[in-house]
């Protein structure tokens, strides 16, 4: 009986504690930077698109919600002609972010994307592309890659060896 009275007393004392509820939408939940929310396509520090249209994210996606078509510009730099993500299928797993070789596709801590019409949840490239470098600042894929696509010449990238002369017999 004493333990019962003690339980009642302890529960009564809970009245004087602060309540744990977060009153959304007046108060927002504090999300950490790596929280897997809305997908964005980022740009490199020179404001070009990071996405090279390699289809790795579409291949990695477990629910096949990414659809894209790669094309090249006049300098030979690849970019996506269209890039479509169906957010009604997306499970926000982050596999596409892990698969991307250029840090183009990223997941940011934003989840407020509710729509009344399911078709409005299919985001095109202009909805996904942002004018920022996202979570990985200072990375430009074309400065490191061996390809010269109007950004640098052959052999001038960071940590890049000069091109080998294929016609000479010296090693």
């Amino acid at each position: 009986m004493i333990s019962i009275l003690r339980t009642i007393g302890l529960t009564f004392l809970h009245m004087f504690r602060k309540r744990e509820t977060i009153q959304y939408p007046e108060e927002k939940v504090v999300l950490h930077p790596r929280w897997r929310g809305r997908i964005v396509l980022t740009r490199d520090p020179d404001m070009g698109e990071r996405c090279v249209g390699c289809y790795l994210c579409a291949a990695a996606c477990p629910v096949d919600c990414i659809s894209l078509q790669a094309t090249e510009d006049e300098n030979g730099r690849r970019y996506p002609e269209f890039f479509r993500i169906n957010f009604s299928r997306c499970i926000f797993c982050g596999y596409c972010e892990e698969a991307c070789p250029t840090y183009a596709i990223q997941l940011i801590p934003d989840f407020e994307m509710a729509e009344y019409n399911r078709q409005n949840l299919v985001y095109e490239k202009e909805d996904l592309l942002i004018d920022s470098e996202g979570k990985y600042p200072g990375y430009n894929y074309y400065k490191i890659a061996g390809l010269a696509a109007g950004i640098k010449g052959k052999g001038e990238g960071d940590n890049e060896d000069p091109p080998v002369d294929i016609h000479s017999l010296l090693p």
């Binding site: 019962i4 339980t7 009642i8 302890l10 529960t11 009564f12 809970h14 009245m15 504690r17 602060k18 309540r19 744990e20 509820t21 009153q23």
Partner: protein
């Protein structure tokens, strides 16, 4: 003629107040449970979430009023009304203020005990008419729980009757003018409260209707307004037991003169209703056999002992 008008007015006022209280208790219970569980209850619908009562009522009205084709139709419909009717009858004898009561029966306490015994019918008939194994099991458990806890509900009140010398509730309240019966009959109060909680099948004795026990107990097949009637019956039962505890042990409408007696009665009843809700927030549910053992092996002997000792002391004081 004027007595008829007086009685009718009194009945209408009490009925109106009780339905308001039963509806308001939905909101109060959810907010108080939340307060004791470190969260907010409903606070979005209307100021402080008060419109949640309206929302719940509208929801219950709009639910499909389905009577199972395998159920006994007449009894299925009658069962929820029994609990409401018996509990409302129990409110007839309670003195709310000096001179403010519906029926000053000289066997008022016996009438209350009789009405609470009739309340068992609603559970038994509800479970039986549902024609469903789990409802029947829940109903049988509930009925046996209520019947066994009723035994010592009456016995625990006999001490009060001995001390005040009458079954009439007004006499019992007036006999507490010098000293409230909680001081002379603490054991009786505790046993009456426990029995009262079992009678209204509230936590921790809510095996008949707990959400996780046997699907939903005896009211698994009920939906819509019939379920609402069971619900209202339960909340009215809480109010009735609180009001009876106040009348019998805490002096009814007695109190210092700076507040009118009706306000004292309401305040004390309100405190007991909060205590019921606090019990729901804090205690776990005992197993069915633990519950029955507690009733028959512990509480009944204590009630009898209380009766014996009180009788002995009253006899000695009368010498």
């Amino acid at each position: 003629m004027s007595t008829i008008i007086q009685y009718t007015l009194m009945i209408v006022i009490v009925l109106f107040t009780l339905t308001t209280i039963a509806a308001w208790l939905i909101w109060l219970e959810r907010r108080m449970l939340a307060l004791w569980q470190d969260r907010y209850g409903p606070n979005r619908a209307g100021p402080f979430g008060l419109l949640i009562v309206v929302a719940d009522t509208i929801k219950l009205f709009f639910k499909e009023d389905w009577i199972p084709p395998f159920a006994d139709k007449t009894i299925f419909v009658i069962a929820p009304t029994i609990i409401g009717a018996t509990v409302l009858m129990g409110f007839v004898i309670i003195p709310y203020a000096p001179g403010l009561l519906i029926a000053d029966l000289n066997i008022g306490l016996l009438f209350f005990l009789a009405m609470s015994s009739l309340g068992v019918y609603s559970i038994v008939l509800g479970g039986w008419a549902s024609n469903n194994k789990y409802s029947l099991l829940g109903a049988l458990r509930g009925a046996s729980q209520m019947i066994s806890y009723e035994v010592f509900m009456g016995l625990s009140l006999m001490g009060v009757v001995m001390l005040s010398g009458s079954f009439r509730l007004t006499d019992i309240v007036l006999a507490q003018k010098g000293c409230w019966f909680i001081i002379t009959q603490p054991v009786g109060f505790v046993i009456f409260m426990i029995a009262g909680i079992a009678e209204t099948h509230r936590l921790p004795f809510d095996i008949p209707e707990a959400e996780s026990e046997l699907v939903a107990g005896f009211h698994s097949e009920y939906s819509g307004m019939k379920f609402g009637m069971f619900f209202i019956g339960e909340y009215l039962g809480i109010t009735l037991i609180s009001a009876m505890a106040v009348t019998l042990f805490f002096g009814g409408w007695l109190g210092p003169a700076f507040l009118p007696p009706l306000i004292w009665f309401s305040l004390k009843t309100f405190v007991f209703i909060l205590f019921f809700i606090l019990l729901r927030a804090s205690l776990p549910r005992p197993r069915y056999d633990q519950l029955m053992e507690y009733g028959w092996k512990i509480l009944l002997p204590i009630a009898l002992l209380n009766l014996l000792i009180t009788g002995g002391i009253v006899l000695m004081m009368n010498k």
